[in-house]
């Protein structure tokens, strides 16, 4: 018999490129397998969320100022780093209650999705921009720009693919994000932070929190320095209240109630477009 004790991982929040515990000191105990092993997950507070928003706000101009080619490479790098940690992700997905095959599919789809959006990062602008034939002597063109800070509430039903399907198009469009992964999805969800941390993603571009959806939703939706909110959960009361609260500063709202995240058809460059603003510029043509 092996006498060596396992070294259990301490799961932390990922804010501003650092792994930190919740400032609140609160935690949630997750029972992760039949042997009743318990993992303590940080229960993020409103204050943690606000810190994460500050971090994302600080990071947004720099992320947007990078070249599209560079953003594309960083997204691809996330896929590379994830793939190298396959065993760890599979283990955590299974701890969350997924069967081996399902966990493999969940992981592979998530990785492929980063590859998919990596490819779009330097192309969607061409697809969605126009030169407009106005009836006056002006050069007039419309381009997609980023929106800013996007708050994301990821689904529990799809710990990795769901999370990645919401993060990837948002950061592909040059936004920074604060994401919540909750319940049983937390283990694999927060482990994504380790892959992000090792993938040249600048601090603050993706902040990851673990916590309770119903507790944090009002704060996500009402924060005045958040430009957009995506809800990927399954509670229609929460999603409705998010829409009401988000109206206060007219956040762009996207609701995916019970989305089928494994479906290939769920992702397209139009998911990037919904995280963009279209800017139109007029310039005279003269002498």
């Amino acid at each position: 018999m092996n006498n060596r004790l396992n070294i259990a991982k301490t799961y932390k929040l990922y804010i501003d490129g650092k792994f930190v515990r919740s400032e609140s000191g609160r935690f949630e105990a997750l029972q992760i397998n039949e042997d009743s092993v318990v993992v303590n997950i940080c229960r993020a507070s409103r204050k943690d969320f606000r810190n994460a928003v500050s971090s994302s706000r600080k990071a947004v101009d720099g992320w947007w100022a990078r070249t599209a080619y560079n953003r594309s490479q960083i997204l691809y790098r996330i896929a590379e780093t994830m793939d190298g940690r396959k065993e760890q992700f599979l283990e955590e997905l299974q701890c969350c209650g997924m069967k081996t095959k399902a966990a493999e599919k969940e992981f592979e789809t998530a990785v492929d999705r980063f590859v998919y959006y990596a490819g779009w990062a330097d192309k969607f602008q061409q697809l969605f921009s126009t030169v407009n034939p106005v009836s006056s002597s002006h050069f007039n063109f419309s381009l997609p720009e980023n929106q800013g800070v996007i708050a994301i509430m990821a689904p529990i039903s799809s710990p990795l693919t769901g999370l990645v399907s919401l993060i990837a198009p948002a950061i592909c469009a040059g936004n920074t994000v604060v994401c919540l992964t909750s319940g049983n999805a937390s283990l694999a969800g927060i482990t994504l932070a380790e892959a992000l941390h090792a993938s040249d993603v600048p601090a603050g571009v993706v902040n990851l929190l673990t916590g309770i959806e119903s507790e944090l939703a009002p704060h996500f939706a009402s924060h005045l320095d958040v430009n957009g909110i995506v809800y990927g959960g399954s509670d229609s009361h929460i999603s409705k209240q998010i829409e009401v609260d988000a109206a206060e500063n007219l956040k762009r709202v996207k609701i995916f109630l019970n989305g089928d995240w494994s479906d290939e058809a769920i992702h397209s460059p139009y998911d990037i477009l919904q995280h963009c603003e279209i800017k139109t510029t007029w310039h005279p043509i003269g002498t």
């Binding site: 126009t130 409705k240 829409e243 109206a247 603003e277 139109t280």
Partner: protein
């Protein structure tokens, strides 16, 4: 310097004739291709804001009327419009465009009578652009498969559209044209103070044989609009108006699958650099804030002048203001017409006085005396203000310009972006690299570089942040009216 004041006073009146304009004493609701009396029998009066004289009685639509209009639009969608080949839908929209062009003078005169805007603007801007919007969108009707790569565009169904009083017919065109081109039917609610050109448009729809119910027009007040927004059989809401109402609409729509576009308020920064062509910039500033009495959501209402040229630019601007002609909207020489309503005049006065109370210095040209009847406001500059002043923060929606200075490019960008709004912005400089740095960094949906307040049906329009959601015009203006499969 030439004294422009003498020049101005030498203009003889040149009023536009109104003889050939046909206005009825009263207008009913346009539902299912017919003018119908409102069920409540209630009416409202629309007046000429330049004279305070009554123009016509207009029906007030209550909930029952809105229900009838939505049902008519739904029936027309199911039975007629969605079954029509796309190219035939397009041909109807072309017909609308042509008919507006044919009657453009009548529309222009009524627009100026009902809304107070100078005939020069309604004749040269509002009406031609309204026709152009129909013409542009007509061509999309049978080409949508090329607009959205990889996806099929389906119509949404019934669109409920609420429009403001600053560009009545033009806003109707912005809303109706893309909706029809994408295969939807429409219930339109015109603004309370400017319903007449929309009702004339309804007459035009009858004349060109647009199938009954494809467009329905219900006049009324905020409660009419509210009934339309919350109607369960409306699939899409398009609203142009104040940010406060836009937010409440968004709240009403929470939990429904209704799509929406909101085109809301603005407080655009207009930035003038030392190296700008100053005389052209002055024309841009005047057009930016005094066009349509400043009743423009994208008006350049915050002027930022680089420090070194502040005195020179202000002198030029004041001199230019001396030559602005304020008065009879129907006079072809008029630059600035009447304020749209008593309510709006009160609001402009209140905010302008707040500027004074907070320490601002007010300058108004006295080149023109204002008519005794009607609602009028002098073109106004406010200097000695800071970012926190109400006149810098809040949308005035009148001919009032708040002026501040700046030193560096970074300071200009920071001040420009220091607002919850993000509809438009302007910059004047002869340096191309600086110009594109500014247009890129300002968080606003429309940027005018060395020009201002230009509009075109091919050019997308709409705001960042609290100035709205979605775009109108151009290819991007089709998105709000389709479901991509």
């Amino acid at each position: 310097m030439v004294d422009l004041k003498d020049f101005t006073e030498n203009y003889a009146p040149a009023p536009e004739g109104v003889e050939h304009v046909k206005l009825k004493d009263s207008y009913h609701l346009f539902i299912n291709g017919e003018f119908q009396k409102p069920t409540s029998g209630k009416t409202m009066t629309t007046i000429n804001p330049a004279t305070e004289e009554k123009l016509a009685e207009v029906a007030f639509a209550d909930e029952q009327d809105v229900n009838a209009a939505v049902k008519s639009a739904r029936d027309a969608y199911t039975n007629i419009w969605s079954k029509l080949p796309q190219k035939e839908r397009g041909k109807y929209i072309y017909r609308i465009a042509r008919a507006i062009q044919e009657r453009s003078r009548e529309f222009a005169i009524i627009e100026s009578l009902d809304g107070g805007k100078p005939i020069r603007e309604s004749r040269d801007v509002d009406i031609p652009l309204a026709a152009a919007h129909f013409f542009y969108n007509a061509g999309w009707a049978d080409k949508l498969e090329y607009a959205f790569p990889g996806r099929k565009a389906n119509a949404l169904g019934v669109a409920g559209q609420i429009i403001p009083w600053n560009f009545p017919l033009l806003m109707a065109a912005w809303k109706i044209a893309p909706a029809l081109a994408c295969g939807n039917t429409v219930v339109l609610k015109p603004a309370e103070t400017t319903p007449l050109t929309a009702l004339k448009l309804a007459e035009l729809f009858q004349d060109i044989d647009l199938p009954p119910g494809v467009v329905n027009i219900v006049t009324g007040d905020g409660s009419t609009g509210s009934n339309l927004v919350s109607h369960p059989d409306v699939n899409k809401v398009a609203f142009t108006g104040s940010t406060a109402v836009g937010k409440s609409i968004k709240k009403t729509l929470a939990g429904t699958s209704k799509r929406y576009t909101l085109e809301l308020g603005g407080k655009a920064a207009h930035i003038i650099f030392e190296d700008a062509a100053l005389d052209q910039a002055v024309e841009g500033i005047v057009n930016g804030i005094f066009f349509n009495q400043g009743h423009v959501c994208c008006a350049g209402s915050r002027l930022y002048v680089q420090e070194g040229i502040q005195d020179e630019l202000l002198a030029k601007l004041k001199s230019r203001m001396e030559s602005l002609i304020i008065g009879d909207p129907l006079d072809k020489n008029t630059d600035i017409g009447a304020i749209n309503s008593k309510n709006q005049l009160d609001k402009i006065q209140e905010l302008t006085f707040s500027g004074k109370d907070q320490g601002g210095e007010i300058y108004q040209s006295d080149s023109c005396s204002l008519p005794e009847k009607g609602y009028w406001f002098h073109p106004t500059l406010i200097t000695n203000v800071s970012q926190s002043h109400r006149v810098v923060q809040e949308e005035i929606f009148g001919p009032v310009l708040a002026i501040q200075s700046f030193r560096t490019v970074e300071e200009a960008i920071e001040k420009a972006n220091n607002t919850p709004y993000g509809l438009s912005g302007g910059v004047w400089t002869d340096k191309g690299a600086k110009l594109f740095k500014i247009t890129k960094k300002i968080r606003a949906g429309v940027m005018w570089a060395n020009t201002f307040n230009k509009f075109d049906p091919a050019s997308p329009f709409g705001g960042y942040k609290e100035s709205g959601v979605g775009r109108e015009g151009g290819l991007h203006g089709l998105y709000p009216y389709v479901e991509l499969i």
